[in-house]
């Protein structure tokens, strides 16, 4: 019995591995973003060349904005690497409060009394600041074939999504006059900031919700579900409604404070008249790191400078000018610049 030498195969694998390692460790100079890295931005040409790595994690809702900012920042500053992850608002805070990331995206405020969040940050001596960068309007949607429901009150939404809601809930139980058909409920998964915010505002308690709704972490699944059934209802971020206006109808919301029924639009989300489902989106930079690392301070400056244009481009509603200025002032005061 003879055989081709298996040693040769192992050697071959090793050679291939080293070849790839050699290619990839070619130095930071070649690491400019593949897209138009050569275009120097006049805004930073007078500043010293920045370098370093800024690591970001957190909310998947805020991710598209931060990704857009990171993309443009790296084009303007080819020496800086800005990888962005999304392990969720809570998952991101756990890493942020161990000092493992520089900035956390959040679709809700940090829980200051939570062991994994505020308390862990305090224990590790991490000094953070909350900066609002955009607004999202949680949009409640129904099937376009649904011609009876156009506006729901907070109490009616709580009937549908509250923790005590029965399994066989009929639309006629939500409001007299609606058809006696079963309500098919869809909602985001319990790990999402969207779920936390909705349950807090509608049911009065974070995480308190019906167990009879179909849940998905992927909002596109919710879109498909509601678009496919006449008596379905669901909710998710405004951007997912804007992209699917042909398949879904957005409900108006009556907050019960005399404002009447308000539909989610850029204008009503921006001036907060679409209440209470307009929610703020935040970033939490590590202030201590920003004081010692010029590239990180420059990144947050760049973020606030471009938040208006970029959040609109990726499907969110930009902050009112005055509110944005407050964020810039707070940031400047925190880092002493």
């Amino acid at each position: 019995m003879s055989i081709t030498n298996p040693k040769r195969l192992v050697t071959l694998t090793l050679v291939a591995a080293f070849a790839i390692a050699a290619c990839t460790s070619g130095g930071d100079a070649t690491n400019a973003p593949a897209t138009g890295g050569a275009s120097a931005s006049p805004a930073v040409s007078d500043a010293p060349t920045l370098s370093g790595t800024i690591t970001i994690d957190g909310s998947s809702t805020v991710f598209p904005i931060t990704q857009a900012v990171a993309e443009d920042f790296q084009i303007a500053n080819p020496g800086v690497q800005v990888p962005v992850a999304f392990s969720g608002t809570g998952g991101g805070f756990k890493k942020f409060c161990k000092g493992e990331t520089d900035l956390n995206d959040a679709s809700r405020p940090i829980k200051e009394a939570d062991e994994g969040e505020g308390l862990a940050c305090t224990a590790a001596g991490i000094e953070w600041i909350q900066l609002q960068v955009a607004i999202d309007g949680l949009t409640v949607v129904v099937n376009p074939a649904n011609d009876f429901a156009t506006c729901l009150s907070i109490a009616e939404l709580a009937t549908i999504y509250g923790p005590d809601s029965p399994e066989e809930l009929l639309w006629s139980q939500v409001r007299a006059g609606f058809p006696a058909e079963k309500v098919e409920r869809y909602m985001p998964g319990a790990d999402s900031g969207t779920f936390d915010y909705f349950t807090e505002e509608i049911n009065g308690e974070t995480d308190a919700a019906t167990q009879f709704a179909t849940q998905s972490e992927d909002d596109n699944t919710l879109v498909t579900g509601v678009a496919g059934s006449t008596y379905a209802i669901g909710f998710f971020g405004y951007a997912y409604f804007v992209e699917n206006t042909d398949k879904l109808s957005a409900l108006e919301i009556d907050a019960g404070e005399g404002g009447g029924c308000v539909a989610p639009t850029d204008a009503t989300i921006n001036d907060n008249s679409y209440a209470p489902l307009s929610r703020p989106l935040f970033i939490y930079p590590d202030v201590t790191k920003a004081k010692t690392r010029p590239e990180f301070k420059a990144f947050v400056d760049f973020y606030l400078e471009n938040a208006t244009a970029l959040s609109a481009e990726v499907g969110y509603v930009a902050l009112p000018e005055a509110l944005l200025q407050d964020q810039k002032d707070a940031w400047a005061a925190a880092v002493g610049g």
Binding site: L14, T24, F63, Q81, V84, E217
Partner: protein, 300 residues
Amino acid sequence: MTRATVTPAVEGGRWEPALMRRRLSGTLFYGACLAAIGLLLLTLILLLWDVFSQGLPWLDTGFLTRGPSRKVEIAGIFPALIGSFEISILVGIMAFPTGVAAAVYLAEYTGSSRLTSILRTNISNLSGVPSVIYGILGLALFVRIAGFGFTVISAALTLTLLILPVVIIASIEAIKAVPDAQREGAYALGASRWQMVRQAVLPAAAPGIMTGIILAMARAIGETAPLILVGAFTFVTFIPQPFSGGYTVLPIQVYDWATRPQADFHGLAAAAIVVILVLMLALNALALVVRARLSRHIQW
């Protein structure tokens, strides 16, 4: 004699062949098997058609060589592709020696003691543990305790742990399949145990071992959940370095694009899935070629 016999159709003490009924049940069974494989193939074809029809319009050389972007026209998968390559090669390098050595120990050096059978059962169980558990282990062990941080090497070590049970089991099976005559022949010629393992058993088991490792690497390429836990990033525009800085991999890039509201991103996701499928097919083909080449000269 208590041998079980086929019960014939007996009526009034006389044996009836009942040919019609037996042929009918045979045909029904054949039909059921055909329906099962048909259903499987149909699902696969629908899936492939869906992915290819959505993804092919987006697939060009620019898609393979550019970084990700919020603008779909200039978005690409280059950093994710390189990240996946680096990780799978590192996983192969680390899983190969450890997996084979563990398998040789279990198959050749320990007898069939109780301890060995407990070990083997546990290794089989480990291969069924959800991959996200390995992510939690990797986060604690490699990222935090060993201090490698959110790097390619942490990811590769985590995935190595994940596929080791599969590699060990495949290698044990390959080693057990070598006839004892080979071992006895080697001993008869005066070989030591190490010489017997190295010159008789391992060359004969090589095709099976290599196939197992390559297929396990293919599994590692498709993993997402453990990598998100050990700190893989999603948006990476630079080429990942093995020991520092961030990285991402293809399945995470797919997840990002597939969950976006804009339909164009779903096309990008489909295109990236096509790339992953091609990589998987390439690895499977490699496994076939290696198997054919290594077993060409084996004769017993």
